[in-house]
Every structure is written in structure tokens, then in C-alpha cells.
């Protein structure tokens, strides 16, 4: 299975091609928000370097959010356009899952955090078990000061923290560990990997069905109210 993975959910942008789970090529840049000018070029570069024609691609994968509004729309539009042209399937990969993906075999709990501004984090959490990632915290928005309690409620033990604000967020959660600079940003190669596991679970969709997942604050607040109720 050939997958073209694309990420433009933040200021960094990347494109990668994988064949049967092996990464063939990845192009990553963090030079500012110019995705509309560079992302298609990066896809072309990845396909050429991987020796893959666009019509050979089985799955077009893209980070579907949360993330930069403009960035998500550029990635979505690009992937929808390519998949529409070739008729291939799409994978909308949660930005959180793409961030946790490199820790799939870590056997650890993983807290994924993205900047929601004003000392708030969009967050989710996964547990790595036997090479599988299980989501253990629904996507929500939290003040930094609430992170520790949320991590406790999700049953996280000494979580590895990933995402663009992981360096700041780590100090708010007991026994949490910074997962390192490389895991602050999404890399398209990980989007390919996450898409492969989604394909195995039958979670692909058509270009038409692909949707961005902005996790807007109002929605995230409702999620939080909902999970609070479940708690009681």
C-alpha cells in the first residue's frame, strides 16, 4: 500500500511517501507559514524521490486537526484535490495521533498537547500497548493548571509529553517527561504510519467525506462539560 502523507497543521509543513509501512521519503520544513506556496512542491518532491506516480498512491493522508485554521484548510484542499483526481481513498489523521505515532512501541502513556493560546492546551492522550495506540482521553481544551487533574482522571502514569507546547506543559503534570524536540511537531512520515493503521481498521474515507477537525474552543468546552458529567 502506497501512502502520501501531508501535514500543514502548524507553522511546520511536511510531505512523505511510504510503501507497505516503510518510509521512502520525507520532506520537512519549518520556515514559516507558506504552505500554499510550498506544500504541493514538497508532495511532488516526495513522490519523485520515492519513484511513485500520483496515480500509484493508494491513500492520501493528511492531518485533519486541531491546528492552524489556514494550515488545515491548505492541507485538506490539497489532499482532497489529489484524491478527487485519482479516485484514491483518504485518511484524515488526528494531529494528536500523528504526534503520538512515533511512540507507538514505547509501552508508555502519551499526553499530546497543542497550543490553544492564553495558557491553554488542546489535548488528548494515548496508551501504547503491544504496538497499538489506545486513546485514553477525549480531545478537549484545558488550562495548563487543569492538565494534572485531567491526566490523573485519564489514569496516565509518567506520561511522555508531545506537541508544540510540550516543553511548557510538562512542568504542570506530575512525573511527566518531555519527549524531546523532535516530537514537538508532526512529521508527515508519522502521518503515513497512522494512516496505515487506520486503513487496517477500515477508517479510510473518500475525498468528499474528508473533513477538518478544528476542535474549536466552544466545542472543546462542551466536550469537557460532557466528560465532567460522565465523571459524576
Amino acid at each position: 500500500m502506497i501512502i502520501l502523507g501531508v501535514d500543514s497543521s502548524s507553522a511546520a509543513g511536511s510531505a512523505a511517501v511510504s510503501r507497505d509501512g516503510e518510509l521512502l521519503y520525507e520532506a520537512f520544513a519549518n520556515e514559516g507559514l507558506t504552505h500554499s506556496q510550498t506544500l504541493l512542491v514538497r508532495c511532488d518532491e516526495a513522490l519523485r524521490a520515492g519513484g511513485v506516480r500520483p496515480s500509484d498512491v493508494d491513500v492520501f493522508a493528511v492531518t485533519s486537526g486541531p491546528g492552524s485554521f489556514t494550515g488545515l484548510r491548505i492541507g485538506m484542499g490539497l489532499v482532497k484535490g489529489m484524491a478527487f483526481a485519482t479516485g484514491a481513498k483518504c485518511a484524515g489523521v488526528s494531529t494528536f495521533l500523528a504526534l503520538a505515532e512515533p511512540l507507538r512501541h514505547s509501552g508508555r502513556d502519551i499526553l499530546t498537547v497543542l497550543d490553544a493560546r492564553q495558557k491553554r492546551a488542546y489535548c488528548s492522550a494515548y496508551r501504547s500497548l503491544d504496538g497499538e495506540l489506545y486513546k485514553v482521553m477525549d480531545e478537549c481544551v484545558l488550562n495548563f493548571s487543569e492538565l494534572n487533574e485531567a491526566a490523573g482522571r485519564a489514569g496516565l502514569t509518567a506520561p511522555l509529553v508531545v506537541g508544540d507546547i510540550s516543553m511548557e506543559a510538562v512542568s504542570y503534570v506530575d512525573e511527566a517527561e518531555y519527549a524531546g524536540d523532535d516530537l514537538r511537531y508532526v512529521h508527515a512520515g508519522h502521518v503515513c504510519k497512522a494512516a496505515l493503521s487506520m486503513a487496517e481498521k477500515g477508517l479510510l474515507c473518500s475525498a468528499d467525506e474528508l473533513r477538518p477537525f478544528y476542535l474549536q474552543l466552544s466545542q472543546a468546552e462542551r466536550n469537557r462539560i460532557h466528560s465532567d458529567r460522565e465523571e459524576k
Binding site: A11, G32, L33, S68, F69, T70, G71, R117, Q118, Y214, Q216, L217, S218, Q219
Partner: protein, 146 residues
């Protein structure tokens, strides 16, 4: 933070004040503007743009929400927050993507988006005086002479 107070007697003088003020702007400067309808927020911004070398029509982006000006001394994004009332709506304009430090950002009707105004933002408050007179207060971290 320094606060400066100016009085202008006409729209033209408000524009000229904006033009002189533009010399103190940098890429990434965010300017939050406050003031009622007809106070002169757009006139001030028009003057700023002229000072940055833009020789074009400048109007309030009430419906477009944001107008971009590129190619002058600074690239400038001119927002009108009149129709914005929540963070989600603001996010959906792409506003936060403009705060990457490369663009100067002007926001009219900042009253509507207090959550988007950082402490270190420059603030421009324009109040009606008698007739065409306007009282303009500017909060700026820098010392300026205009």
C-alpha cells in the same frame, strides 16, 4: 508602557498622525484600536499605510474581515472585528496565523475581542471631541516623538 495623548481637528489630521506613527512600527507589531463608529480608526490606519508606502484606497474591511497589504516597508493585515464575537469566530478568520511575527497587524473594534489583545499590544483609543475634534491616546512600549 508609555501613554501618549494627541488631539486632531480633522480626519486629515488623524491620517497625518497615523502617517507619522507608522515610522515606529515593526514586523509583528500588533495594534489594537478602540473607538466608536466614525471615530477615525480607518483614517488613522489609512495614514499608517500611506506612511508605509502604500498608495492605494484603504477602507474598513467590515465584510472581508481582513485586508492584506503587501509590498510596502512592512506587510500589514488590517482587521475589522466589528462582526466577531467569539474566539472560535476569530480563529475561523485565520487571525492567529497572522501572528507569526512577519506581519504588522491592525485591529479595528478590538473592544469585541479582548481575548485577542496581548498585554504588549500597542493600543490606540480614539474618542470624539467637539465637532471634528478627536482625542487619540496611544499606549506603546517604545518612546516615540510624533
Amino acid at each position: 508602557m508609555y501613554t501618549y495623548r494627541f488631539t486632531t481637528a480633522s480626519q486629515r489630521e488623524t491620517e497625518e498622525l497615523g502617517e507619522r506613527f507608522s515610522a515606529y512600527l515593526d514586523p509583528g507589531t500588533v495594534v489594537a484600536m478602540y473607538g466608536d463608529l466614525g471615530a477615525g480608526k480607518t483614517a488613522f490606519t489609512r495614514g499608517v499605510l500611506r506612511g508605509l508606502g502604500y498608495d492605494c484606497t484603504v477602507s474598513s474591511p467590515t465584510f472581508a474581515i481582513v485586508n492584506e497589504y503587501r509590498g510596502g516597508r512592512l506587510d500589514l493585515a488590517h482587521f475589522d472585528m466589528y462582526r466577531i464575537s467569539s474566539e472560535d469566530e476569530l480563529y475561523g478568520t485565520g487571525f492567529y496565523d497572522y501572528l507569526d511575527g512577519t506581519m504588522t497587524v491592525f485591529m479595528e473594534w478590538s473592544e469585541n475581542v479582548p481575548f485577542a489583545v496581548d498585554e504588549d499590544a500597542v493600543k490606540v483609543r480614539i474618542e470624539h471631541g467637539e465637532g471634528d475634534i478627536r482625542i487619540i491616546e496611544i499606549d506603546f512600549q517604545k518612546e516615540i516623538e510624533i
